[in-house]
Amino acid sequence: MNAASSEPVISFEDVHLGFGDGDVLRGLSFRLLPRETKVLVGETGSGKTLILKLAAGLLKPIAGHVRVLGRDLGPMTEAQLLPFRREIGFVFQESALFDSMTVGDNVAYRLTEEGVEPSETDARVLEALTFVEMEHAVDKLPDELSGGMRRRVSIARALVSRPPIVLYDSPTAGLDPITSQTIITLILRLRDTQGVTSLLATHRLQDAFALANYGFDPAQNRVMKASLPELASRNGQPSTNFLFLREGKVYFEGGQQAVLESPDAYLRKFLV
């Protein structure tokens, strides 16, 4: 890996954010390296979604710096941020599909906005929907889909423009275990076949461990235990890292092994 590619894709430096009742984030700092998957773990209200929205430039910090792909988002205007956000895929917690559009139109939305040729748009929409195994639902409305299906379409919508970064906001929240597993498999495939850098918020540690323990082998086209060195680590560092939030700050940061071996009571609460 060259020096340039080890520059952080996303970095938070002493970020503060609040909404009148005091700061939710109080001096948050972390870095996300290329092709790394960082799992944000924290209790409800700990600011996981805010971190993702800050990283997408949907919110601005009241203090500190948020840098994405080398650019400080703080001083950027909304007009500058709009085209910049096309570098980022965002999977919202409740999918946030446009309910008046069909599944196909939802997935095609970004390409249509960018003025991509209709024939290419159709091909890429089909490719994205096939990736999430939802190609049969192209003409359906979001209301006609189950929660898990909507989440899969939301992932297709995020990946259709092939962004280098994908942000996932609790992608398995409210889903049954089998559907959750399907979603995690999709995230694994996206990470391991397209090499996207991911920031994932969750309060379900089992999902995070699945990301750390499994990888998608494109050669065999299946998910497998991440004993393969190239799936398990990047330059000797785990490719999936955990970032525990507490009281608006990073409480703990490290790989799966470090989490499992930690005697800390707050961390162990999430392991139960």
């Binding site: 910049f84 956000r85 917690q93 946030a96 599909l97 970004r110 919508r157």
Partner: protein, 274 residues
């Protein structure tokens, strides 16, 4: 972080805060509303313009509102004749019915009633639709995909309303006069030639200007208020319901208040001011 300098004791601060807080909130609301309206207008003058959304909104607002506007307009004209005829009969001046119905409808009732009907139907629709999109994060999703919600959601609704409300008003005026004529014919035995001649002759160019300029302003108010209320929803689905009600109330009040000042201005410009 540095703490704020303390410049007043706690009791004074809270008393002042209690007095100033509602005022500050209202100023903030006015500022946010003005900013949204300015952004929406500005986005009409630069690409991209969402033509499909514009046509869709013109269909929803224009064609969708047509039946209630026509029905209401006809009955407003009809009831005006019933009310005025009895007064004119006392002086033997029933021929003036056409004049009064025409002037009242074109100058005042047509624009105001149509504005209020469209506010009730569409300002509420805009607030609830945009509010629902906001609480389900669809607006954030739009921003996350590089689309400006003011341009995509507000501007087409604003332009569509400003285009179709004058047309709806013109239709309301016509069916109002027709309704007035029908009632005049059957109750006062006023002939078609007499009614329509007097109705048209009573109107001056300034009356038509007044009658067509008002809907443009009313359209601006009801569309921007509806969109603003929708895009500032707080409190989930219950908040959407509140925003919908507030959009109707605020836009109706804004239409009626602005109507007074617009009438005053129009009469002044026409040299008819008291």
């Amino acid at each position: 972080m540095a703490t704020e300098p303390k410049w007043m004791d706690a009791e004074e601060t809270s008393a002042l805060a209690i007095l100033l807080e509602p005022l500050k909130r209202q100023v903030q609301v006015l500022q946010d509303y003005s900013y949204l309206a300015a952004r929406a207008i500005a986005s009409l003058f630069s690409p991209p313009l969402y033509v499909n959304d514009l046509l869709q909104q013109m269909d929803i607002i224009g064609i969708g509102s047509l039946p209630i506007v026509l029905l209401t307009g006809a009955f407003i004209g009809a009831v005006m004749v019933l009310q005025t005829a009895s007064q004119f009969e006392r002086f033997g001046e029933t021929a003036l019915t056409g004049d009064i119905v025409s002037l009242a409808l074109v100058r005042e009732l047509g624009p105001a009633i149509t504005g209020l009907l469209v506010a009730g139907r569409n300002a509420s629709g805009m607030a609830s639709e945009l509010g629902s999109m906001l609480v389900t994060e669809q607006v954030d999703a739009m921003r996350a995909m590089g689309t400006d919600p003011d341009r995509k959601l507000v501007a087409p609704r604003l332009l569509a309303t400003m285009c179709v409300l004058p047309l709806l008003t013109a239709m309301a005026d016509f069916v109002g006069l027709t309704g007035g004529f029908i009632v005049s014919y059957f109750t006062l035995r006023i002939g078609a030639v007499e009614f329509w001649t007097r109705a048209l002759n009573a109107l001056e160019f300034s009356d038509l200007m007044q009658g067509m300029a008002k809907p443009v302003i009313f359209a601006f108010l009801l569309a921007t208020i509806g969109c603003y209320k929708g895009l500032t929803v707080r409190g989930g689905t219950q908040g959407v319901g509140r925003a919908t009600t507030q959009a109707v109330v605020a836009s109706s009040v804004a239409i009626l208040v602005s109507d007074f000042f617009l009438t005053k201005l129009a009469l002044f410009l026409a040299g008819k001011s008291l």
